[in-house]
Symmetry: C2
Subunit: 207 residues, 2 copies
Amino acid sequence: MSKIITVSREFGSGGRELGKRLSDHLGFAYYDREILEELAKEEDTSEWLTQNLPEQNFAAAIPLHFGRSFSVYQATATQQTVKLMIAEQKLLCHLADRGNCVIVGRGAAALLDQWKPFSIFVYADMPSKLARCRERAPESEHLSDREMIRQIKQVDAQRAKRIQWSTGVKWGDRKGYQLCINTSGMSIKTLSAALADYARTVFADGK
Amino acid sequence: MSKIITVSREFGSGGRELGKRLSDHLGFAYYDREILEELAKEEDTSEWLTQNLPEQNFAAAIPLHFGRSFSVYQATATQQTVKLMIAEQKLLCHLADRGNCVIVGRGAAALLDQWKPFSIFVYADMPSKLARCRERAPESEHLSDREMIRQIKQVDAQRAKRIQWSTGVKWGDRKGYQLCINTSGMSIKTLSAALADYARTVFADGK
């Protein structure tokens, strides 16, 4: 069976970099949102929809907090989002079957449960997340600390909603992960090397 | 500055064994409740009490959920518990000053904050905790699964209350720890070896 590492993360915690570096250390394939969305666009969701939602009114199945609205534009956009999400979930299973990989985001820990992934949640305190966001922001961005903190919280709230809705799992609840890592004040480069060794041991122990 | 590792843990998660093995791997001193209570009995708390609680009615400072009662016996027992707790806290600081160590329990992560400890929270799913408790139970113990689960939950609830009261920190909240480790289905022996390497890297990175 493939060895799968999933990385869930708070925005600004360095989880994505950690995932990428982990994949480099271990020689695993690497997938994150951008890569998965690109691949998913090519997938056909119609067959999956026929098999899995035969009785349901597709629009009614979308929870209110997920963007339902009287606006036709928004309703269409939400349908597309959900279709893309379904295609992504199909894709994740294909990729997990194909070979060892690190997957960042997309609720992969819960979705790929049957592969018994080594699931990681990455978090940090707000000053660390703020510093990391500042460091990576384009020069054109002129947000105050307060605005940036609001954005960080917004992204995480969206992630929590998305994961809760698509997998039924509470995002960030330690029970859903095998390891939760606080990156506050730490170098992701150093942590990823240590974590790669840790993951090797975990996989050797029967995962 | 001394290198300090603190281990908080759910009952039955194997956290204590993990802490002991970690200390062996790293050559650190090891302290847990039994050792600390023995040492604390020899400490004199009167000076600390005079310095830190001059204005307070000591009995009134004890929260209701911590065992206050109309019974004289219970009130005395609680005062002794609190005195012991204070002595322990003094002791923890002495021990942290003295050299590298692993401390299991006692809210050490929060109490030794200024030493910037590498703080670990160890947890597991209920079937794993139940299996571990069964394995270690004396032959004379004949609890049903249901009774054992109730006891596991009770111990954890007591720990949570104690930590919340003595440190103001929410027990088990990932923000209070640097690493949260799920030991479900894992060998503590294997995990401790991997974790020792991880800790070495964390300390080398400036902790």
